[in-house]
């Protein structure tokens, strides 16, 4: 189908973008790569009266670690930029993020889609959202009241719903600490489809043993979730299989056309174990 009419605005700088957002309010949508939004507009699931194109804000297109060892991903950085980043940009510390890009759609989607767009869109199975929750990321947002930082754990409120105010713009994703023993894996009917279940783990490894870690799941709740029950197993020295079983037992996944709840639980048990094994094999 064809999208409903709208007015197109091109922001020249961050201040202009946030001023436009404040002025136009809830009738406006920000467009970056548009890989989710344009499809929704073509279906007329979204009918914004105004589109604010922020693609020209090149200061939001950056990728690298800062002096504190945190990885900073500009909102306009494409999945493809991360996937093809020169060795050393992310390093072994953030290899999990580079490797996760291959799960996002297909090449022509990854060349346009952006990290910030994915987070702001907040699909329950999106890889960036799951990575952010698993790795305790924070989001920097700009608005008319200034700048604020929102923890990933407080950001996702429901399907396609975030803590962003209508006049706020997401500018950066900050992954605060290295995650050398982390991995993301998922299962979809076909490669490139939306995941039915996705799992990400970030293990604390000392010497040759796992001392604890974080376990997060996508596709099992309206937002990506951490699973404390599975993390307790890791902290207690339990096996990966026991950790995965605890994760499957702890959540109540949806029962829908993409898979029954019991099927999803089986996927969780497999995927969490697989992610743990991949994380320690890096």
């Amino acid at each position: 189908m064809k999208p409903a009419p709208f007015r197109y605005h091109r922001a020249r700088d961050l201040a202009g973008a946030t001023r436009l957002l404040a002025e136009l309010g809830e009738d406006a949508k920000v467009i970056a790569g548009g890989q989710s939004l344009v499809a929704m507009m073509n279906f007329r699931l979204a009918r914004p009266q105004h589109l604010i194109d922020i693609a020209g804000l090149r200061e939001l297109d950056h990728l690298g670690t800062d002096a504190d060892g945190a990885l900073r991903v500009g909102a306009l950085t494409t999945h493809h930029t991360v996937e093809t980043a020169p060795p050393g940009t992310l390093g072994a510390e953030f290899e999990v993020i580079r490797a996760a890009m291959g799960w996002i759609g297909h090449l022509p989607i990854r060349t346009r889609g952006t990290a910030g767009g994915s987070v702001a869109h907040a699909d329950a199975t999106a890889e960036w959202c799951l990575l952010a929750v698993a790795l305790d990321a924070a989001f920097l947002v700009h608005g008319p009241r200034g700048r604020r930082r929102i923890a990933a754990g407080d950001f996702f409120l429901g399907p396609y719903t975030t803590a962003l105010d209508p006049d706020e713009l997401l500018t950066e994703i900050v992954f605060p600490r290295p995650a050398p023993y982390a991995a993301l894996t998922e299962f979809a009917a076909r490669r490139g489809d939306f995941a039915i279940v996705s799992a990400a783990v970030d293990l604390d490894v000392q010497g040759a043993s796992v001392r604890g870690g974080r376990v997060a799941l996508g596709g099992v709740a309206p937002v990506p979730v951490r699973v404390p029950e599975a993390e307790e197993v890791l902290a207690g020295g339990g096996s990966f299989t026991a950790c995965a079983a605890a994760a499957a037992a702890a959540v109540e996944p949806p029962d829908d056309a993409n898979g029954s709840a019991s099927y999803r639980k089986q996927l969780i048990a497999t995927l969490v174990r697989r992610a743990c094994e991949e994380a320690v094999s890096r």
């Binding site: 091109r10 201040a15 344009v38 020209g56 022509p108 989607i109």
Partner: protein
């Protein structure tokens, strides 16, 4: 990116300075002037901002080699190159493509009437990489963009990449063979 001209009567060039906001909830047929660089030529089009790049290519520029299938980013029939990278032309508005170099399937062949096929097109022909042909322009541009970035692509990587587009005739095997043989021939050419 360049800023758009507002001669066509729109507020497309809204930045930090002016905020011509219409308080009316009804959006009329707003028109804007956009400039696109396609296959090395510059085109000016006056259009509604809601029109996607693929619709402008086909209906305004009459470059009908690019096909349009699903219009929501699944089938890949509309794949074109934007600054050398494969993108879905149905998943972007034409206005977003201003300032970028766009290449469509028409740019591949050569000769006065476009009858001199490129090496990639010849490889598709000799490997029977097409049957009905509907998906072919999308596959060609996907492969063209991918091989430019990954000339050393393995067959496994090619298989993974062509999963981006849908073909209901060939079963993909012949498409993979075509792209792989073209890549191998280009590598051989480089060595000589």
């Amino acid at each position: 990116m360049t800023d758009t001209d507002t001669d066509a009567g729109t507020d497309s060039d809204t930045g930090a300075d002016s905020l011509p906001v219409d308080s009316s909830p009804v959006i009329g047929r707003e028109l804007q002037l956009i400039t696109l660089e396609v296959n090395g030529e510059e085109y000016e089009v006056i259009t509604e901002p809601r029109r996607t790049l693929v619709d402008i290519l086909r209906h305004e520029l009459r470059l009908t080699g690019t096909h349009v299938g699903c219009e929501h980013g699944v089938c890949g029939a509309c794949t074109v190159l934007l600054d050398g990278r494969p993108v879905r032309a149905c998943l972007m508005f034409a206005a977003q493509a201003e300032g970028a170099a766009i290449r469509t399937v028409e740019s591949l062949s050569d000769g006065a009437d476009g009858s001199e096929l490129s090496d990639l097109q010849r490889a598709f022909r000799s490997h029977h990489g097409l049957q009905c042909g509907f998906c072919t322009p999308g596959f060609l541009m996907l492969a063209e963009g991918f091989l430019a970035e990954r000339p050393q692509a393995t067959k496994a990587e090619i298989r993974e990449v062509v999963a981006a587009n849908l073909c209901r005739c060939t079963g993909y095997q012949s498409i993979v063979e075509a792209i792989d043989s073209c890549a191998a021939a280009r590598r051989e050419g480089e060595e000589k």
